[in-house]
């Protein structure tokens, strides 16, 4: 086999990558625009650290639902797991001591399982089911907390400084993302989830127990949300809000869709969400730095969500989605 010319190989690899991940172009565009408009604010190390920190929060929320979206469903309960989990840590600390932090992943696992069972067996559409659960959880959070945000001390070690300049939460995020991508790309579970999203009937005919794997998808999603919530919990000083902020719910969705994961399922996944989350974080940071009215930011996010979904529903010509 002839060794291809090195010089020609690299550009073709780049073009191939862009064809598969067009959001990279958007990311680069944002970086270029904001760097040139506000160089003194955008290119500082403080800003880059902030971007990293916000990326972490966004990504940790988005990992779980990325997996569910591949099957064609939606999971919106991650914010609920985070809020209720966080307040339960405060509530149970006197009883369980340091072990109360484990409540969060356990809650995530249980919630995911519950979502999966109701969705698969009772056939309730996932978006309204997980939305209702989110509301239930946020209501419980407000009640348990008595309406006041509570802080829990004692878990600083989770996000204590490890490498200077890089938030430790980011270091935690890396293995979490790797595990998520591994599950989707290297295990049987991943193949089955893609199959269910791509052609549920065909998956069933091929002998896949669709109900079982749907339940599994939601359970894994809940678990990831739970583990991610632990990091975010401490990342934000050991407390959670007691009022539901819709943006916290919507931003990870934007990251997923922006990354190129189609809502109908069968393609995409956590590996794409990384790019989507990064691009979105850069955009938000850039907008905040600029002197745009904060309410305009909300508007832009809404429009971005709509545009990305429209594009995502129809696909872009020439782009291979995997």
């Amino acid at each position: 086999m002839k060794t291809p010319d090195r010089k020609k190989l690299i550009p073709s690899i780049i073009i191939q990558t862009i064809k598969i991940y067009p959001v990279i172009l958007i990311l680069i565009a944002f970086v270029v625009i904001f760097s040139s408009l506000y160089p003194e604010k955008f290119l500082t190390s403080l800003n880059l650290t902030t971007i990293l920190r916000q990326f972490v929060t966004l990504m940790l929320f988005a990992v779980g639902p990325s997996i569910v979206v591949v099957t064609g469903s939606l999971d919106l309960s991650y914010v609920g797991i985070w809020m209720l989990g966080g307040i339960l840590v405060w509530f149970l600390k006197p009883i369980l001591g340091m072990y109360s932090i484990l409540v969060i992943p356990v809650l995530g696992l249980a919630t995911g399982f519950l979502n999966g069972i109701i969705h698969a067996k009772a056939k309730m559409p996932s978006f309204i089911l997980t939305l209702s659960l989110l509301v239930i959880y946020s209501g419980l959070t407000a009640t348990i907390a008595g309406g006041i945000p509570r802080t829990v001390k004692g878990y600083d070690f989770i996000t204590a400084d490890f490498i200077h300049g890089i938030p430790t939460a980011f270091l935690w995020t890396i293995p979490i993302i790797i595990v998520a991508i591994y599950i989707m790309k290297r295990t049987r579970i991943g193949i089955y989830l893609y199959s269910i999203g791509s052609n549920e009937e065909g998956a069933r005919l091929a002998g896949i127990n669709v109900d079982k794997y749907k339940i599994l998808a939601f359970t894994i999603s809940g678990l990831f949300s739970g583990i991610g919530s632990v990091i975010i919990f401490q990342h934000q000083g050991g407390s959670v809000p007691v009022v539901l902020n819709l943006n916290t719910v919507v931003y990870p969705l934007v990251a997923i869709v922006l990354g190129g994961t189609l809502l109908v399922g069968g393609s995409g996944g956590p590996h794409r969400t990384i790019l989507g989350a990064l691009t979105f974080t850069v955009l938000i940071r850039g907008l905040i730095i600029s002197f745009l009215d904060p309410t305009m930011i909300q508007l832009i996010v809404g429009l971005l969500l709509i545009v990305s979904i429209v594009v995502g529903s129809r696909g872009v010509k020439g782009v291979t989605v995997t």
Binding site: R186, T187, R188, S195, N199, G202, A203, G207, G266, S267
Partner: protein, 512 residues
Amino acid sequence: MVMAMNDSIMEIKGVSKTFDGIVHALDDVSIAINKNEIVGVVGENGAGKSTLMKILVGVYSPDNGEWYYRGKKIPFPKNPKEAVKRGISIVYQEKGVVPCLKVYQFLFLGHEDKYVRLSRLNINKMKKYARDILEEFHVKCNIENFMYELPLSTQKMVEIARAILGVRLEHEEDDITSVIILDEPTAPLTIEERRELFGEILDMKKNASFIFVSHIIPEVMEFTDRVHVLRDGKMIAHYDLSKEKVTEEDFFKAIVGKESVEYIYKQAEIKEFVSEETVLTVKNLTKRGCYYDISFDLHKGECIGIFGPTGSGKSEIINTIAGLMNFENGSLVVKGKEVKANEPPHVRLTRGIGYFSGETGKELFLNWPITKNISIVNIKKILRKFIPVLNFTAEKKMAERIVKQLRIKTPSVNAECYALSGGSKQKVSVGKWFERSPAILLLEDPTIGIDVGARDDIYETTLETKKKGISMILISDDPKEYSILCDKIMFIKHGRIQKVINNEKFKQEVTK
């Protein structure tokens, strides 16, 4: 009935299956499969082909019957996985492919546990085996291709390879021979792709035996070694094509029943009401892969039948006229106005074209009562005089009229359609269209699932509607129906019109 030869792989005897204790889906059916052969199973829709296959692959359990494997009696498989362990696998007619997967991933779908250790897939091993299998069966594709990228015939080949692969992976013996059931494999394929597929299957014969389920007689005649004919759940004929000479007509008679071919219904009324006025002109209608250069005129009060095997394009032509498919070339003129190629059904309906699809699951609103199902296409008829609101009394009367006319078995017109039998559902569904009486009514399989006695009710209503000047185009699986209802019959094969004959000549052809 069928003699199993010495190298028989498997044999089932005396299989019967009833649903709900009433309907005999299968009645004392026996089949033997030998090594390296292709066995055809043919019959009308509803004859029991699909039930038989589902029993073979473990989706259903039979009420009676015995299964012999190499002469030894064993129980029927309880689920598809058990069936695969015995060497039987099925390639479904549609929806069997998962488009987002790569070829090597799809080949192993459902059987990964042979390549899994601690949840990790041994991808390299899978890829290597995939390459070997594709080469062995001459499948023209790369293991890294996505399934959606492949042409349909290649997809089918991959499905077949997957079926054989599944057997090899799951079997418990060393020298197992696969029996692969092909359920209407050519239905989604174009005419060109079918030749290709059959070439490859014939090639595969040395590795496996096939059961070829179909109602495309020419293909069955050309590619199978032996053929079983099912009718109404019974195995009524078996032909060994290597030993006997069988014609297409012989098959027809076996499938449809010799008696009904000689059945003649009221003839005189048919010719009377065809006027000279043309309501529909089809000119050179073409859609690549489906039909080519279709031209005909439909007159007021005329009924034209489109006759041909499945896949000949008849269904696609009717779907196109109905607005469910676009045509690429040619023109369609409805009542003097040329229509656009991509109009949705509701626009066609305003032009006067109504379409009965023959599939009650799609057509009916099952949780609605009969009244609402009939009125949904007849809303204009049940509006009150001065305010455009629904008149429930008129709605009920309309439904009662149709129930009476078609003799639909139901306790009341307010019964939910879920509760009706398949035949009654069909009658409600076709009845609503007769009530609507659009200028042009497209009927696809209007009497499917309705027993012979009840069909007369539908024929009567059809002929009455025809008298009123409604033009119709008919597609049916029952040749007798064409002779009863149609003035002209158009023969279609491979997407082209072969000939157009009038009713008299048709009867002569079919009774030959």
